[in-house]
């Protein structure tokens, strides 16, 4: 597909890179020549230097014939205007990044009036993910499917768990019917388990199951469930604000530490129920004074990766709270794998995931849309949810008789709000939402799981 990306800073560059990898013809528009050169020398995309709200520039970038325009500059207004112009001069679909809470609250109206196909808000998406992590604190990652009815959670197998040294064929009889292990990370290796795989303590496993079964499952494998009542958020930027908002609605106490006094005043106006602390998040005295030790969860969500890391390491040392760290630079991800910084959330990656999901749905002609897409374990694994269309080939036979690819696993079928743990006798029906996990990224439609 022909895709134009306006703005190639952090998010734009990441999206461009991943879309090029998926084989699309990408053109990027960027005002700053240095940034543009940097991106176009790194990836196989064409660069146009200029202002993306200019009709001439959009024309040069080929918006007239493009299928999709993604506006991800730093300014919400520029993004919205860019999409509006693109709609007028071309027939392309448009995606805009809209971050400011004011606009985001009115996003439904904006989307309709400007003809946006989608609005993405990296900070809000990250805040939602963090909130899910706080609600299930024992999980390292929580991804939700089927409109929130099914979760895929990643947990580390604790010492002395019944899972230690267990073969996967015994899993169903010993742990229960609801849960299904989809991905195992053992040392550096990532694989989709088969009948003979064995679990070890320290492995990280990703498990899909319906929401109601979660607590029972965690208790069974030896992870203590606890509920979180007090959360400290370092950094009161957009992400901090969105997160506090979600948590306060769930009646969780929130304390925000923010450096800028001006922003503190704003926050206290916006979030009257939260406690706003003016100070440095890396100041040990301040943290102790504010009782960091008694927090159930500490979220490091400032703009600075370094500060977040320091804060997370410190919090991990002095408390046994659930620690969540925001990391902006993707390249840091590899390095911090071994550090105790708890769960890591990268807003950019979540956004890129949303957009790629959208692109794949646009591309897919089978009528089985990609409903959800999560890119896991450094993008080595993908978890996708498809809504099965009328003509899908996968409905022909039972799962046992279908010739399903070796690197694909069907993890869950959700039918009329009922969650089915798929077995060989089950058959996929039209309208089902099917969750699959694959180590071969790039599936566009449900029928591609067949060999």
């Amino acid at each position: 597909m022909k895709i134009v990306i306006a703005g190639c800073g952090g998010v734009g560059g990441t999206i461009a890179e991943q879309l090029v990898q998926e084989g699309h013809a990408v053109t990027v528009i960027e005002r700053d020549n240095k940034v543009l050169q940097n991106v176009t020398s790194r990836i196989d995309a064409m660069g146009i230097q200029g202002n993306c709200t200019s009709i001439a520039v959009q024309d040069e970038a080929g918006v007239k014939n493009a299928d999709l325009l993604i506006a991800v500059t730093n300014h919400d207004e520029v993004n919205m205007l860019t999409c509006l112009i693109a709609r007028k001069i071309g027939r392309c679909q448009t995606i805009a990044r809209v971050r400011s809470p004011q606009y985001f609250n009115e996003i439904g109206y904006i989307r309709d009036e400007l003809g946006l196909s989608m609005a993405v808000n990296p900070e809000y998406a990250a805040a939602q993910e963090m909130a899910r992590l706080i609600q299930i604190p024992s999980a390292l990652e929580v991804d939700s499917f089927a409109k929130g009815h099914v979760n895929m959670i990643k947990v580390e197998i604790p010492e002395g768990s019944i899972l230690d040294q267990m073969k996967i064929m015994d899993f169903r009889s010993k742990v229960g019917d609801d849960a299904l292990v989809c991905i195992v990370e053992h040392d550096q290796e990532v694989y989709i388990p088969n009948g003979s795989s064995v679990f070890h303590a320290g492995d990280k496993i990703s498990v899909t199951m319906p929401i109601y079964a979660m607590n029972a499952f965690l208790t069974k494998i030896g992870i203590k469930a606890k509920s979180i009542k007090r959360v400290m958020i370092a950094g009161g930027g957009k992400l901090g604000y969105y997160l506090a908002h979600i948590l306060l609605d769930a009646r969780i106490q929130v304390k925000i530490v923010e450096r800028s006094e001006e922003r503190c005043v704003e926050l206290s106006d916006l979030l009257p129920k939260a406690m706003i602390i003016h100070g440095e998040a890396t100041d040990k005295q301040l943290l102790l004074e504010e009782d960091v030790e008694s927090m159930d969860s500490v979220v490091a969500a400032t703009d600075q990766d370094e500060e977040n890391l320091l804060m997370a390491l410190y919090a991990h040392k002095v408390t046994d709270a659930k620690v969540i760290t925001r990391i902006n630079r993707l390249s840091i991800g590899e390095v911090i794998g071994d550090l105790s910084v708890g769960s890591v959330v990268t807003p950019m990656n979540i956004t890129a995931g949303y957009i790629i999901r959208y692109v794949r749905s646009m591309q897919n002609s089978y009528g089985s849309n990609v409903e959800t897409l999560y890119r896991l374990v450094d993008n080595k694994v993908e978890a996708l949810e498809f809504i099965v269309g009328e003509n899908a080939k996968v409905m022909k036979d039972t799962l046992a008789n279908l010739n399903i690819r070796k690197d694909v696993m069907v993890c869950c079928i959700s039918r009329h709000k009922k969650v089915i743990r798929p077995g060989g006798q089950d058959q996929i029906q039209a309208g089902d939402s099917v969750i699959v996990v694959t180590t071969r990224p790039g599936l566009n439609g449900i029928d591609e799981i067949l060999d």
């Binding site: 022909k2 013809a25 990408v26 020549n33 020398s41 790194r42 196989d44 995309a45 064409m46």
Partner: protein, 479 residues
């Protein structure tokens, strides 16, 4: 330097070279010429070496600008070395150095010949010479790139940037592979049109094909000892027009095809290229009127000669050694200018000259108004400082290398004009110079040392200096 990946991709390039070698083998089969077997034998050996190099997949797939530059220059050297082998072992060109000179001259689209007579060469060899012109014109690696999938993560991009001529590299479409394909499609299309027009002029298919390929690559190899003087006026005019067309930046044609007529004609480089061509043709036509006799004749010869020199093709309808000095000087100066960037022509490129002249004007404006702020623009866009700096450095190294080459060639004791123009004509990939290496002469009488120097000059000129020069920097080869 990632040696593994160099080996791996070089293997692929060798396999392609083997495929190319089959083509003259085919021509030899048609004409029943024994030298064809040697082409096939060379192809067989090359393909084996190619596959041997690719047996082990590299563990390290890192590919950066450095590897791109080295790989491009190494492929060009290797391809030339191999292409010359069947010419020598078949006994057609007894001296390997002469054969190498001929093939480097072919692939770099220089068209300078070290052979005394080409009319009696086997068809296969003549085809091979002209094919090398055609292949080298748009680029050997660009050709390979449009066929293969990505060689390594970013390899293709760095390779294409290193091979394509001009001060900066611009894509036509977002994807590199599509860009390469679009370029070659336009190239093949134009070549076919010329081929058909030549056939209409009554030439044989083989001769038309050779001329079309040599024109398209702006190479300049001919298959007649008398050059173009014996062809009809129709053929001469067709070739003039097509030489001019192949010297135009291919972006121009792309924009025309996309129906962006206004943008196409707004390319400054194409504008100045046309003006330069027209003015020089008229001036020379006036100058040679006494020799040519008629207005039409002098215009025809003048425009042919200006086109051949500006686009660095190097055909000749007349021996311009006999022309007035004014015309000779004008032609030598045009040799430096060259064709447009992004065309198949060589030389310094019109766009670099535009940058030089604009920088000079800006410098003068700064002397008069020290506090004025002014950016150099081309096609309505600011040229960034990096491009200007790299164009300036290009000029400096260009002059230095040329000076050193002239000093070495001067050891051969030819006259000044021959010595200087032999270097100018090879470095700028034109072909014939003046004096003993003029259109009526050839490079046969030069010493081996001079031929080696000129081989180096041709490669350096075609690849625009930097890829070849960095081969001599020690830092390049560090692990």
């Amino acid at each position: 330097m990632n040696y593994q990946i160099l080996r791996y991709i070089l293997g692929l390039i060798l396999i392609f070279e083997a495929v190319f070698l089959l083509l003259p083998g085919l021509v030899a089969a048609i004409y029943g010429e024994p030298c064809g077997w040697w082409f096939l034998a060379t192809a067989a050996v090359v393909v084996l070496i190619g596959f041997a190099l690719r047996i082990k997949k590299p563990t390290n797939m890192q590919f950066h600008g450095r590897e791109g530059l080295v790989l491009v220059s190494m492929s060009w050297i290797l391809i030339s070395l191999i292409s010359a082998v069947p010419m020598t072992i078949s006994g057609v060109v007894p001296s390997y150095i002469d054969a190498l000179f001929e093939m480097v001259s072919g692939f770099t689209t220089t068209g300078a010949s070290a052979l005394t007579s080409v009319e009696h060469l086997p068809h296969a060899i003549n085809f091979w010479r002209c094919f090398s012109n055609w292949n080298g014109g748009m680029g050997v690696i660009v050709f390979i790139m449009m066929i293969i999938p990505k060689a390594a993560s970013n390899a293709n991009m760095y390779l294409m940037r290193a091979e394509s001529p001009g001060p900066s590299f611009g894509k036509l479409v977002p994807k590199l592979k599509t860009t390469a394909r679009t370029l070659y499609l336009m190239y093949i299309g134009l070549t076919l049109i010329q081929l058909i027009l030549l056939l209409c002029g009554g030439l044989s298919f083989f001769e038309s094909l050779c001329i079309a390929m040599a024109t398209a690559g702006t190479g300049g190899f001919g298959i007649r000892d008398t050059g173009f003087s014996m062809y009809s006026s129709y053929v001469q005019i067709v070739v003039t027009v097509f030489m001019f067309l192949f010297g135009v930046n291919f972006k121009f044609y792309f924009l025309l095809i996309m129906r962006k007529i206004k943008e196409a004609f707004a390319i400054e480089e194409v504008f100045w290229y046309t003006i330069l061509f027209a003015v020089a043709s008229i001036l020379i036509a006036i100058d040679i009127f006494p020799i040519a006799g008629t207005i039409g004749g002098s215009l025809k010869h003048a425009s042919f000669q200006v086109a051949t020199v500006m686009t660095t093709t190097g055909f000749a309808t007349m021996d311009f050694n006999a022309w007035p000095i004014f015309s000779q000087v004008l032609l030598v100066l045009l040799m430096f200018v060259g064709a447009c960037a992004g065309s198949t022509g060589g030389g310094m490129k019109v766009s670099r000259f535009i940058i030089y002249i604009k920088s000079a004007l800006k410098e003068m404006a700064t002397l008069l108004h020290p506090n004025s702020v002014k950016k150099i623009k081309m096609d309505g866009k600011i040229i960034d400082h990096e491009t200007i700096r790299s164009a300036n450095i290009y000029l400096i190294i260009y002059v230095m290398l040329m000076a050193v080459s002239i000093i070495i060639v001067s050891l051969d004791q030819f006259d000044l004009v021959t010595t200087v123009t032999s270097v100018i004509a090879t470095f700028n990939n034109i072909g014939p110079g003046l004096g003993a290496v003029g259109p009526a002469g050839n490079f046969h009488s030069l010493s081996i040392l001079s031929k080696l120097v000129l081989i180096f000059d041709m490669l350096t000129g075609r690849l625009e200096i930097f890829p070849i020069v960095i081969l001599f920097v020690r830092d390049t080869w560090k692990k």
